[in-house]
């Protein structure tokens, strides 16, 4: 899955700039209702469908399977754009591409790919990634959901929690225990929504990202055909972690998008304050904070692109992806908080996106590996 497009001297290639503009046009046309998705906790189905039409749900899929094979860097560029307008749409697309499609492409056999990709690349089906459980979040290997081999199938029992797109997805990648070993007893399966025993459990009511349904996915004696096992038994945790490197790039890009939106709000706010000669005369502390945040936005975008390029080149990028996610997600929160402060009452009264950005940003430090887990990955990587 090598990207056809590159970063050279910190500039995107012309192909990527063109792609970026295409995505920007999409966001302007289709993501106007972000505030409403949030207020009504309504899944942005039409927006996701429109994205699918434009081929935005298949960026991490090879061309032979119907994908655009644009790769991780292109996905990052795309996700920053989308998330700057609507984080609920952004995470839906990020999970579909970075966690599900890229996993299927990398770890499934040809037959499996042919079975699922036709629906996944078109967005006819949406994907969800089911790793966390009630008692295993950061400590993912503590998962308890089990899949017992029984002839030509497995019997799966367990409940997965915090599943993004849970109630809207058609294809679930579910990590389940096939053996006792904490790490090597975990395997990955594809489970389809329509199968007997698969149900959507509790839907979370959340601080933000309310347009993206986060639900429990419950498996009760689900008969999972053996040919839905991904790769082989026991490599599930390895698959999960490898996939998360890519997922983290998606969340880093989401964070950049949210940060950018917050910084844009500040820019508008500061830009309006001029003296009688039209020169900026906004509060210096406000301007300085804006300058610091805008600098970090550029810096952490480079961190994100660097990791994406490595992943596109097939180089392991756990440390680099963790750096990108950790830095970008903290920036998103800092920027959104600062935007609210700077806008004052207009920052909290819902008359502009500031307060939504603050609520949406908060999840980026939590999901797909909380900040402290990113720091652990980085420290281990650098101290090794």
């Amino acid at each position: 899955m090598t990207s056809a497009v590159q970063v050279s001297d910190f500039q995107l290639s012309p192909e990527l700039v063109e792609f970026q503009q295409k995505v920007r046009a999409y966001t302007q046309e289709h993501l106007k209702d972000a505030a409403r998705y949030d207020a009504e906790a309504r899944f942005p189905r039409e927006a996701v469908a429109a994205a699918a039409k434009l081929g935005l749900l298949c960026t991490t899929v090879a061309e032979e399977h119907g994908g655009s094979a644009m790769g991780n860097l292109a996905s990052c560029v795309m996700l920053e754009e989308i998330n700057s307008a609507c984080a609920a749409t952004g995470v839906t697309i990020s999970v579909h591409n970075s966690l599900v499609n890229s996993l299927l492409g990398k770890w499934c056999n040809e037959e499996q790919k042919k079975r699922w990709f036709p629906k996944m690349v078109t967005g006819e089906w949406l994907g969800a990634y089911c790793l966390s459980e009630a008692f295993s979040g950061s400590d993912a290997a503590a998962l308890r959901c089990e899949a017992k081999k029984n002839g030509d199938h497995y019997v799966m029992n367990g409940a997965k929690l915090w599943i993004t797109t849970g109630s809207e997805a058609d294809l679930f990648v579910i990590f389940a225990r096939t053996g006792e070993d904490r790490v090597n007893g975990i395997s990955a399966f594809v489970v389809e929504k329509t199968w007997d025993g698969v149900s959507v459990g509790k839907k979370e009511r959340k601080l933000g990202l309310r347009g993206s349904p986060t639900t429990e996915i419950v498996c009760e004696n689900v008969k999972v055909p053996a040919d839905c096992l991904i790769g082989e038994e026991g490599i599930g945790f390895k698959i999960a972690l490898d996939t998360l490197d890519g997922g983290r790039l998606g969340i880093a890009s989401q964070s950049l998008g949210i940060a950018r939106a917050a910084i844009d709000l500040m820019r508008d706010h500061l830009g309006k304050q001029v003296d009688h000669k039209g020169r900026p005369n906004a509060s210096q502390p406000d301007q300085w904070d804006f300058a610091d945040l805008a600098s970090d936005l550029d810096a952490y975008r480079f961190l994100t692109w660097r990791a994406a390029v490595l992943r596109d080149q097939g180089v392991r990028c756990s440390t680099e992806a963790a750096m990108a996610k950790s830095c970008a997600s903290r920036l998103a929160n800092r920027a959104a908080r600062r935007a609210v402060s700077m806008l004052g009452l207009a920052g909290v009264d819902g008359s502009n996106p500031a307060e939504r950005l603050l609520r949406d940003a908060r999840i980026t430090e939590i999901y797909e590996g909380a900040t402290d887990i990113q720091r652990l990955v980085i420290a281990r990587g650098l101290l090794a």
Binding site: G137, S138, W162, E204, D349, S351, L358, I366
Partner: protein, 341 residues
């Protein structure tokens, strides 16, 4: 040893408020906030406890206890409900602004038979020829208040709430405080000659500081309790140094804010100029509350992001406190202007 500064009488009042908060407010605060339900019952309960006149001079019908027990009790309220804390602050602003005026309105406000929303000078209302004009975004209690007390230039005026246009806003926080937009286009209003806008402002500063300290305390408690129960990597989350450090630092910041808050209240009660001290307390406490609630969310992880564990509510409320009454940055500018210009 904590309340070194409270007399026995004061401590009794504070304990009574604490009991009410723990028994009645704590179990329902999150749910009512989620549904944006105004908490009139709680306002009435505070009235019954007689706390709206807590700091009011005895010869005006109050308890004359000063601001120290006010901040002590308010902290307990803020620990469980920022909305109720803010409603009490608004009512107290009205009461203390009117202390020097007296009269029936003061009696009603101190008794809690009328609910006030207070609109400060930062909104820039104007008053002329008995008419009040101006608008204010996001005024706590606005939607449910009986009377608005408005600072308009040098004047403090009262206006019948129903005479003003009031619009609900779907804001970030303080969802149970009936916050809304207020517009007055030449509405008939009555000047309250001799009312003390500065006193009202001081009440807002130390009150917000105390409420934010409470939010910080509540956040630390939520984070700590979760971390003690949650097992990860074979041991309670609380055994992780990184988690401990978050809680230690949150506690320390909240404690610094509390000491500043008590200092400001004591100074005011002794008749000193507590304006700077109160501003320091307010800025520090709100920052501490934002940080503590942010860290609590982080400790709770996915649970912290849901509306079931209080952390996200403290986070939203703390950020909302930050921008009310002109906001922390305007306070910083004012401290600078006073010291350096």
């Amino acid at each position: 040893m904590h309340n070194l500064q409270l007399t026995d009488d004061q401590e009794m009042v504070v304990d009574t408020v604490k009991k009410f908060v723990v028994d009645s407010v704590a179990p329902k605060a999150q749910e009512l906030d989620e549904h944006r339900t105004f908490v009139r019952d709680w306002c009435d309960a505070l009235a019954e406890l007689g706390v709206y006149g807590l700091s009011l001079a005895e010869d005006k019908g109050g308890a004359g206890m000063g601001l120290v027990p006010f901040v002590a009790a308010l902290e307990a309220v803020g620990e469980h409900s920022g909305s109720l804390a803010r409603l009490w602050i608004g009512q107290m602003q009205a009461v203390m602004a009117l202390e020097s005026v007296g009269g029936d309105l003061l009696d009603e406000l101190a008794a809690g038979s009328k609910l006030a929303a207070f609109i400060g000078a930062e909104h820039g209302f104007t008053f002329a020829d008995g008419r009040l004009t101006g608008s204010a975004a996001f005024v706590p209690a606005a939607l449910e208040a009986d009377v608005l007390i408005v600072v308009a230039g040098d004047a403090v005026v009262q206006v019948d709430a129903s005479a003003c246009t009031r619009t609900a806003t779907t804001g970030l926080g303080l969802n149970s405080a009936a916050c809304g937009r207020v517009e007055c286009d030449g509405v008939g209003a009555t000047e309250l000659a001799g009312a003390d806008a500065h006193k009202a402002e001081l009440v807002a500063l130390v009150g917000t500081a105390a409420a934010a300290v409470g939010a910080g305390v509540g956040s630390v408690r939520v984070g700590r309790n979760h971390a003690a129960e949650r097992i990860a990597f074979g041991k309670p989350l609380l055994a992780q140094q990184a988690v401990q450090r978050k809680l230690v630092e949150s506690t320390r910041r909240v404690e610094a804010a509390r000491q500043l808050t008590w200092h400001a209240a004591r100074l005011a009660d002794l008749g000193g100029d507590a304006a700077d001290a109160a501003a320091h307390a307010r800025i520090t406490a709100v920052d501490a509350a934002v940080q503590a609630s942010d860290e609590a969310i982080q400790i709770l992880g996915g649970y912290g992001y849901t509306v079931e564990y209080h952390a996200e509510r403290h986070y939203r409320d703390a950020k909302t406190f930050e921008v009310l009454d002109g906001g922390s940055n305007a306070l910083r500018d004012r401290l600078a202007a006073k010291a350096f210009v």
